[in-house]
Structure formats: C-alpha cells, structure tokens
Symmetry: C2
Subunit: 284 residues, 2 copies
C-alpha cells in the first residue's frame, strides 16, 4: 500500500509521541522531529507506511541509546493478556463456533498498539474483548474457512506484544501442529519479538521464527531469506495487524489479513469505518 | 510566544487541510506538504506560530495562483454574522451589563477560524453565541474596565472575517469615537482585510487601517511603519484571536487579548482548557 499525504501528518505526530514516550530529553524530541521532517519532505509516496515507522523508530533508538525503549510496556502487555487467557480460552471452548470466537478475540488483541495510542490498561483490554464479541467481522469468512480446510502449512505473522497472547487462542483453533509463527527480527515500537513469543508461551506450542527485520510490518525485501522461504512455501498466511496489511496487501499470495482499522487512510482503502474489525485478502 | 514541537505537527496538518480546501490538484497538496516539511525541519523554534502560518499560506497562494483562496468563505462568514447582528445588538442593549455581553459575543465570533476548522455553519455560529452566554470569561475583567475608563485612544486589532461583525458590538460599547480598527494588510486564511471591514460596515463606524502584513497574527517587524506608529501611541490595545496573542503576548504594552483557546499548546501556556474564553494581558 502506498502512503498518503495524511500518513505524513501521522508520522510526524507519531515521531513526537514516540520520542516523548521513550525519552524525557527535549533535545531527543527535537532531533527526531527535525530528522523526520527532513526525511519525509523527500520521500517517495509509493513507499508503504511501515517504512516510515521503521525509519522513525531506528532513529529514536539511536538518539535515546536504547535498543528496546518499549520493552517494559511489552512485558506489561504480555502479563495483562496472560491474566485474561484462562477466561478467554473458556469463552472460545464454550462458544457455538470456537473458530469465529477465536478470530474475534485475536482481533480484540489488536487494540494493543503503541504506534497508535500511548498506553493501554486492563480495562481497555477488557473493553476491547467485550466489543469484539458483537463487532461485525467484515470480510470473506467462508473463503477463510475453506482455505483452512485445505492448508497443510499455515504461516502466522504476529503483530504486537500482548496481542500475541490472544493469537494463541486462534492458533489452538487452527491446529498448532500445522502453524509456524513469525515475529519481528528486532524491537520496533511494541511489535512482538522472540522474547514476547516466549513470554506468551507460544514457543511451547509452535515453531517461532523471526523475520529478520525491524519494520513495524512485513517488508519482504527487508526480511531474511529464511523468512521469505517460509513465506513463499506456506499454503496459507495469516497476517495480523494493520502494519502487515499495509506492507503485504498487494502481494499475490494466499494471505488473510486480520486487523482492526486504525486510521482514516486504511479506512478509506478498505471502505470500512475506523475501528472496524476486518478479515481481508490481497487486493482489498 | 515561541513555537512548540506540537505546533510543527499542527502546521503540517494545517498545510494539508488548507491545500485541500483551496485546490483540487493533488500536485498542489504534495507541493505544499514537501515545502512545509523541508522548511519546518530547519525552523528556529523561537519563531512565533503565525510566522509558520504566513509562510504556508504565501506558498499556497503561489502554488494555487490565487491571491485570496478564502475570499468566498470570508464573504459568506460576513453575511452569516450580519444576519445575526440585529438580534445580537438587542441582546447587548438589554443585558444587565452591556459591555460584558459585548465582550462575550466578540468571543463567540472568534469561533469563525478557518485555520482551525474548515467550515462553519449558521448553526455553529448560533451555538457559539449560546455557549458564550454562559462560558466563564477568564481574566482580569476589572483591570480591563479600569483601562477603558482612562483610555483616550483604543487600537482594536481584528482577527477573522465574520468575527469582525461581532466586533462591531464591542466597539459600539467601547465608544466608536475613540476606536481605530486594524485589519491584515493582505489576505491570509480567513483573516479580516479591508474588504471584510467594509462588508461588516465597520468603515462607517470607525477609521480602519491595515497592518501591511500577510501574517495570521501581528508580527510587528513585518507591519507597516504607519501601523507601528498607531500601535505605539495608542493608550490601549485590544487584540482579538489566538494569532494576535501568539505574536504579541511578550510585547510590554497596554494590551488586552481577547480569544478562544484553540489548541493544547496555548491552553498549557495560559493554564486554561481548550475552548476557554480568555481575556489576558502580556506576560500571561
């Protein structure tokens, strides 16, 4: 997906928010802002939005000298989600359609996004769960169910810390034996890395690989060869979160995107309101 | 007032909004964005915010080839406000304290600001009037009344088209014979120029001068010598709108600012919430 001019406005705002969240030093705030303004002034708008996020957060890590400024926030998100897990699992197992319920809850977990809001509480998370029970699930559900029936291997691209705990429920419904989970190759915002997969207990359930990249999405050219090989050979790919949609929505593969619409640009792109819960395929 | 980093985020957003409002050509939108990003990346943050507004709108006028892209919007605002004028005048004349009521209505008029919102309807305007009746008027009202008692000459710095009609009511209460009104020297956003003063009927009531500048505020160095002379020699200056506050709040003169707080940066600066109606003096 290309970037809109509205994305630039959002990157500038995000850069300032992220700088303030990760450093108390005004010179860091000003430094990142000047860098982002200068850089975006020359950017090719054909570039997908996650490239901007990657640049901003690389620069922020350099300026703050912190390899992983969101580490504590990620740990906290994982803990909060793990506390909900037993109850959520029961909800899935007693649901009329456990797969659809697990899809709904995986979408609820997508509310944990520090690129969009700067903090999340247990109450926010519980509200997201409650909302996901009734929120319409837009998209080709029957085609997804059909794809699941025929797939031998499923490559599951995770999104954020905390959210990855919710993903466990869906992976259990998909059949863990055919699933491999991919996380980011290095910290960026609160996106899930290997450390989060371990905290979420995913590594005991399925093979976990990392994509070799520090983009808040999946920029195939920036991913490791090992990741691309798995991506190319999987029967079915499930990609969580808007960042994965923004970076893979034009890739002609058997991908189902699962995300909450978080901005007006993607809302206009998919023809659904902000906040909508979406199941989508490439080309959407 | 210096600019905050938050102001930069706002300028970038304003530039895009203004470009879309004044041109349907995507290359104009992209051109102004790239220019503003490049320019703000190097800006001295000691610069008051109206300098950014001046730059953005100059550039926009060049790119669109339109000397006054907001002309029709300004005319419409003046017409809408003139339609309300007889009723509002009656409200002032029958009020327990006509001066305070006129102050309240002059503040209500400050809602007509195309730098902040892209359109305003008669309903918005009526709602603003209704709100102004009960909204607390923060600031040194007694000092203002005292200053009015001793001033022989009052220099009234107008803000926006439409709003300038509401200013008539306050000028009538101040005593038109001692008031001179200043408008912007050239079109910028929907700020009032001579044309608006004429449409509002102000030129039949008081002398109208222009400040020689196209900034959406009063940057003294950018104003004409004639304007500065009047500014320096007036017993009392009344400056309408946040742009005038942002550009004159450190000038040690007998100024009373009258404005609605329109952003978080100014809200933090004056210690009042966004939307508050403020009467303030320099140093506030």
């Amino acid at each position: 997906m290309e970037s809109a001019l509205d994305c630039i406005v959002c990157f500038v705002r995000q850069a300032l928010d992220a700088a303030r969240m990760t450093s108390a030093d005004p010179s860091v705030h000003e430094g990142i802002m000047r860098d982002v303004l200068q850089w975006t002034s020359k950017m090719d708008l054909k570039t997908p939005p996650p490239v901007f996020g990657q640049h901003i957060h690389r620069r922020l890590r350099t300026l703050t000298g912190s390899h992983d400024p969101y580490r504590e926030i990620k740990k906290k998100s994982n803990r909060m989600a793990l506390a909900l897990l037993p109850g959520l699992r029961q909800t899935v197992e007693t649901a009329a359609d456990p797969l659809v319920m697990a899809l709904r809850l995986a979408l609820a977990g997508n509310v944990i996004d520090m690129g969009v809001s700067s903090s999340i509480s247990s109450t926010d998370l519980q509200n997201a769960v409650d909302k996901a029970m009734t929120e319409p699930l837009a998209g080709p559900l029957a085609a997804f169910q059909q794809a699941l029936r025929s797939a031998h291997t499923i490559f599951y691209l995770a999104d954020n810390a905390g959210e990855i705990v919710f993903d466990r429920l869906l992976i259990e419904q998909l059949g863990a034996q055919r699933v491999t989970v991919a996380v980011r190759g290095a910290p960026v915002i609160n996106d899930a890395t290997r450390e989060d997969a371990t905290q979420a207990g995913l590594d005991n359930l399925v093979p976990v690989v990392d994509n070799g990249s520090d983009a808040p999405g999946t920029l195939l050219d920036d991913c490791s060869e090992a990741f691309r090989h798995r991506f190319d050979s999987a029967d079915l790919i499930i990609a969580k979160g808007q960042g994965n949609f923004e970076s893979l929505n034009t890739v002609p593969k058997n991908i189902f995107f699962l995300f909450k619409v978080k901005c007006s640009v993607v809302a206009a792109h998919v023809g659904l309101p902000q906040g909508a819960h979406v199941l989508a395929v490439p080309g959407a």
